[in-house]
């Protein structure tokens, strides 16, 4: 039995302007000790998926329409709020993108860490403080015994993100969901933060879901990848499958758009157009209007299904475009494409 088994999870937001289908039919599995990367543009439904797993979606306007979130075989969607509270922060914890806004600026780090410990563990304050200091030492905060008394503003951005990680890991969760944990950080600090997560994983077998838009981070940390576009998973598989044999047009465009892979004097490859409006139903392939490949037939049928190619490598293959040629021969004209706002 996998640690986490999400089946056909759909979340939407019922707004005055219409129903926004933020995540549709998301399925994923995660074993103990594994790392899953979720990649995609902003608005592709990466964060909504994570928030839905933990039921942190504000309801209303949000609504989890269908699906199951099986954590060790138990469906989290059927649990009461108080049962859910005993899982959040204890069995599954989350690191948010912005360490500046997710720590309370009025409270000392010690207060916040002790609270996180004592919510789940009936220990006295001194023992909790000791545990908090150990947690800070484990994420590499120097002089933790005195730093624990500091306020969030007394830490640098990287240190604050370490505090967040310490807080997320203090109860030894089985699953850690990290939503863009390094996006706001310098490359050097990013490397350190990822090392801390990896080290922890090696030692305790924590499973990790890493949400990011940086394919470099995924390549270095994840075992499996899911590529999301317009609220759907368009491709999933092992990191090697997705990086070396990308099938979906979106995955291939995304890979092509990384600046570090491009020659200096050529214009950078950009994906033309903008993501679709999710408040309108998407017909056929959601990526069709932006797809760089030559079209073989018109977009007519229903949305293509996610089908398995080989050994767990799944793709939402639409069959509307011809993806036999490499993208660079398809696209030399992209300076023009850039100008379409």
């Amino acid at each position: 039995m996998p640690l986490l088994d999400v089946r056909n999870l759909s979340t939407s937001f019922h707004l005055r302007s219409g129903i926004v289908r933020a995540a549709q039919n998301i399925s994923l599995t995660l074993e103990k000790g594994e790392t899953l990367g979720i990649v995609g543009e902003s608005g592709s439904g990466k964060s909504v998926t994570c928030y839905s797993i933990l039921q942190l979606i504000p309801q209303p306007p949000g609504r989890i329409e269908s699906g199951e979130v099986l954590f060790e075989g138990r469906d989290l969607l059927k649990l009461s709020e108080s049962e859910m509270r005993s899982i959040r922060g204890k069995r599954i914890s989350m690191i948010f993108q912005d360490p500046m806004t997710s720590l309370n600026p009025y409270l000392r780090i010690s207060t916040q860490l002790i609270e996180a410990i004592r919510v789940h563990d009936n220990m006295d304050e001194d023992a909790a403080l000791k545990k908090a200091i150990t947690a800070l030492e484990e994420v590499g905060i120097p002089d933790a015994a005195s730093r624990v008394r500091s306020y969030p503003h007394e830490f640098s951005g990287g240190m604050r993100q370490r505090v967040m990680i310490a807080m997320a890991l203090v109860n030894d969760p089985d699953l850690l969901i990290a939503d863009e944990p390094t996006t706001a950080l310098d490359v050097t600090v990013q490397a350190q933060v990822l090392d801390i997560i990896k080290e922890r994983q090696r030692r305790l077998g924590t499973a990790v879901i890493l949400v990011t838009h940086d394919l470099g981070v995924v390549a270095g940390t994840c075992d499996k990848v899911q590529v999301m576009y317009a609220g759907q998973v368009v491709e999933s598989g092992t990191t090697d499958q997705v990086f070396y044999n990308p099938q979906h047009a979106y995955t291939r465009s995304l890979q092509k758009a990384i600046p570090s892979l491009q020659a200096k004097n050529e214009a950078l490859y950009t994906i033309a157009g903008t993501p679709p409006d999710l408040s309108k139903p998407v017909l056929g392939c959601a990526f069709y209007p932006r797809c760089p490949f030559p079209k073989v037939k018109d977009q007519d049928g229903p949305a293509p299904e996610l089908t398995e190619l080989s050994g767990g490598h799944c793709v939402r293959d639409c069959g509307y475009c011809d993806r036999t040629k490499p993208i660079e021969t398809v696209l030399a004209q992209d300076v023009v494409a850039e100008e379409t706002p």
């Binding site: 902003s42 270095g220 570090s260 214009a267 950078l268 950009t270």
Partner: protein, 327 residues
């Protein structure tokens, strides 16, 4: 000095030993000084007309302070700054205000740097009015339309407010606003860090095209060497308020000489799982990469020219280094 002076005037922007120190004040009772933060410490560099200079470094290394000093938003503690031969650092405050029309900035966060209550038209026409106060009516409108086209925005959207645009479009509005007063120098401070990969490349393409078409001189500040490599002609790597290595973008990326530049390079994750598994990392001993205080005064950086045009600091490096091959 006089011959050096004439040399200085030939370049577009010249910084000569510029420092920016912040006094931390005194303790309440003992009146002892709390020290001085040397955010920018003896920086000399030149930028040619039409050149893009990339400034790279970790947060806290002084790159933003340096750009604010160049803009004269902060007057330098010492040193001289020349723009087209005119010494900015010697001008009076009133003259600086008049001169500031020649510098424009593009900031990281287009959500925060645009006034949410002004339409694109108002924002741009206000900025145009700084250079051409007499421009009115149709002429002004024509100029706004032209600007919006230049940055790839649809002029039909000129009466919209910033919140009606996506992040990438908003950054385009910010770029249009920076170009409106026809500046001589544009400083872009992490202009793409907050954007998605695909939008990032759109904005980089735009900046690069603008610089080649309009001969725009630009300072591009970022912590991401892979982005700077693409856009900049030359790169200066900053560490603790000093330039530690400077050279052409290719030289810095392909042949980094200073251990700090090498460490920065090795920290960039490669979007290739096999390379990632083998990637050798140079780890620097942890230390707040903040600015220098007076107490730990180190020798002032001397830059040595290792290859023509490629300068490396001779300053001893004070962070311990270890090499790790891990995935």
């Amino acid at each position: 000095m006089s011959s050096a002076q004439t040399d200085l005037r030939e370049d577009f922007l010249v910084l000569d030993n510029v420092t920016q120190h912040f006094d931390l004040g005194r303790h309440l009772f003992s009146r002892k000084s709390k020290g001085v933060v040397k955010a920018v410490d003896g920086i000399s560099l030149t930028i040619k007309q039409g050149e893009i200079l990339g400034i790279v470094g970790e947060s806290g290394c002084g790159k933003t302070t340096l750009s604010r000093t160049i803009m004269q938003l902060l007057r330098p503690t010492s040193g001289q700054i020349f723009l087209e031969g005119k010494e900015l650092s010697a001008l009076s405050d009133a003259d600086i205000r008049a001169e500031r029309i020649n510098f424009q900035m593009i900031f990281q966060d287009p959500y925060a740097s645009l006034n949410p209550r002004l339409t694109v038209f108002t924002t741009l026409s206000e900025a145009i009015g700084r250079r051409h106060p007499d421009l009115r009516g149709e002429d002004l409108r024509a100029r706004v339309i032209e600007l919006m086209r230049t940055v790839g925005l649809n002029p039909a959207q000129m009466n919209r407010y910033p919140h009606e645009f996506s992040g990438g479009q908003r950054q385009r509005v910010a770029i249009a606003r920076a170009l409106a007063p026809e500046p001589k120098l544009v400083i872009a401070d992490e202009p793409v860090s907050a954007l998605d990969v695909s939008i990032q490349s759109q904005i980089l393409n735009l900046l690069k095209r603008l610089s080649s078409e309009m001969g725009l001189t630009m300072i591009f500040v970022s912590h991401d060497l892979s982005v700077v490599r693409y856009i900049a002609d030359r790169i200066a790597v900053m560490y603790r308020g000093q330039i530690i290595e400077m050279g052409t973008a290719e030289a810095i990326v392909d042949d980094p000489r200073h251990i700090y530049t090498q460490a920065l390079m090795s920290a960039i994750p490669q979007p290739d799982p096999k390379l990632e598994r083998e990637r050798e990392r140079i780890l620097l001993e942890d230390e707040p990469p903040g600015a220098r205080k007076a107490e730990d005064d180190l020798e002032v950086a001397e830059l040595e020219e290792v290859v023509p045009g490629h300068f490396v600091s001779t300053r001893s490096f004070d962070r311990r280094v270890k090499v790790a091959a891990d995935a």
